[in-house]
Symmetry: C2
Subunit: 340 residues, 2 copies
């Protein structure tokens, strides 16, 4: 029996939700399967912001984003019966590709529910991993319902994109690695990170990373960053309850959730130091910086935290900041139009 030494109130004790041990267990499952992505640095960036910035390069993760970590952790824990029946996920983006690849590697069948008008390149990538596509009409149908229907009909396991502790634990391995790599990159493991910036969509990455890094480095500030046009978590954070937006509008297609997850928000409301927003222009400038200086392709959603640093929305002068570049799945035409 492990006696908790946490300083949280009785409520947190009663619902431990997600623990760093779950994130550590996920890291064990991902070893040799997911990449330990490199941390990049830029002397130019450090000079521009007056601090030290460590950029966690998840575009170099398998399937092109951090989402592979959560999908892989979740799918590797399916029972034999669940494996045999297969899984279903709803997403035209990174979660769909991640589930498709993780399923292929584990020899599990995958059905991915995608909008009929989804981007052809992303749908082709999902099919390329060997998953079956199920197109739905977003004007008439709810994707959750389409997935639930398929699941009921064929005994499939629904793999939710963020509101699932095993998904969050997988995403949290980004934070585990970042904290470790911050020590390896000097100036000594005792120094660590002063703050960590993560993008927030449904909140799974933020919940996993904040759980991991605040446990490893008490005192670190984890800051969530959203596009101004999809600031549901920023509004919810200030209101102290989950706010649902009527509409979202941003190029960051991975962050278009209109409401925080129930499980993720309970964690993020407690562990995040703040949630801030950036504009579309700031996102495009961050993508261009990644292209020109880091030689890394970063999608709009993935550039959001760096946008907060470059724009000064989050000042990092004199501090050591970890920034999660969460993914790189953007097609060249969209990219050219944004940064050209």
């Amino acid at each position: 029996v492990i006696v908790s030494t946490r300083q949280d109130g009785p409520d947190a004790q009663a619902s431990p939700a997600l623990t760093v041990d779950q994130v550590r267990a996920a890291a064990g499952r991902l070893r040799g399967v997911a990449h330990r992505t490199p941390v990049l640095t830029s002397r130019t960036l450090d000079r521009m912001c007056g601090g030290t910035v460590l950029l966690k390069a998840e575009p170099l993760q398998r399937s092109g984003s951090f989402k592979f970590r959560g999908a892989c952790n979740r799918l590797s824990q399916l029972s034999a019966a669940e494996r045999e029946h297969g899984v279903v996920a709803y997403s035209s983006g990174n979660h769909g590709g991640a589930v498709a690849l993780a399923a292929a590697l584990l020899g599990v069948g995958a059905d991915i529910v995608v909008p009929a008008n989804g981007p052809a390149a992303k749908l082709a990538a999902i099919e390329g991993y060997g998953a079956r596509l199920h197109r739905y009409d977003p004007a008439r149908q709810q994707r959750e319902e389409v997935a639930a229907g398929l699941a009921a009909q064929r005994s499939l396991t629904v793999i939710r994109p963020f509101d699932d502790y095993q998904i969050m634990a997988g995403q949290g391995t980004v934070g585990l690695e970042l904290a470790e790599q911050a020590g390896e990159l000097g100036p000594g493991p005792d120094r660590g990170l002063d703050l960590v910036l993560v993008p927030v969509g449904g909140g799974g990455l933020a919940a996993g990373v904040s759980t991991a890094v605040t446990a490893l480095q008490p005192g670190v500030q984890v800051i969530g960053v959203e596009p101004a046009g999809a600031d549901d978590t920023a509004q919810s954070f200030r209101a102290g309850r989950r706010v649902a937006l009527e509409r979202v509008e941003t190029s960051a297609d991975g962050l278009r959730a209109s409401q925080p997850g129930e499980l993720t928000f309970a964690i993020n409301a407690r562990l995040l130091a703040d949630v801030v927003t950036v504009t579309e222009e700031q996102i495009a400038a961050a993508m261009l910086f990644c292209f020109a200086r880091l030689k890394l392709v970063v999608e709009p959603s993935g550039a959001v935290p760096l946008a907060a640093v470059l724009s000064g929305v989050v000042p990092v002068a004199g501090r050591r900041a970890g920034v999660v570049l969460s993914g790189g799945n953007v097609d060249p035409e969209t990219f050219a139009a944004m940064v050209g």
Copy 2:
């Protein structure tokens, strides 16, 4: 005294030219200064070509290309007097940026001779590293002469782009790392690499890499790849002597040398298994592949060896191939025009 166990003829014995020990010494000098760049893999690429491809990601090197390795190795061996007077290099591209950055890190003054009509972004990057720019008119002046004039006037040391053993030794560390990383990535260090593909401009990278990997893994084939529009080394390799081209035409601005180096060709003629060429369309397709699947920005020159794999010019079916992606310095407008 180390007794050579090489099987080469008396001529090679008489002029050892460049040895793997010089490359190892360079690696020691670069430790903690240059990045040990990651090796990327792609399941999609392996499936497409039927082999295993390990991609050495030099766009992630400091200054955005492998050129930093040679510059750093060369500059770190300057005498105290040479350091005090400073260095001069001629290049509007990767060598210029690499010398400028290496000089800045070592506290040495650097003058870089650049064409007056050179790309503004690259010239700005060189200045950003703290070097002085000297513009010349390529229609009227020879850049080597401009540099020699400055060197004579101010006792500067000329840092040649490739025909210099210390430059070659630095570039060779790419091969040293690739061979090591090939072992780390499995299926076991004894397996190693069957072939290694490198881009060839003046031939410094090819000479360094071939020296390193053929010493570490006897039997490995090192293949040089050139754009069809700048095939001076391919022609020279077949002729058995250095051929000079009347004109070169390629988007691969780092590979526009019209004649192989004297010192580099002596090594490459002996150690390369072959020199092949690729078309401009094949280069653009390889850049697009890097963007879409690897999330890596690769400049035209850097994509040339991968173009040979993707096009089938060099078959890798059933083999384990190391491919050097040598740099990522391409501006977004040029990139968009090439792959859009």
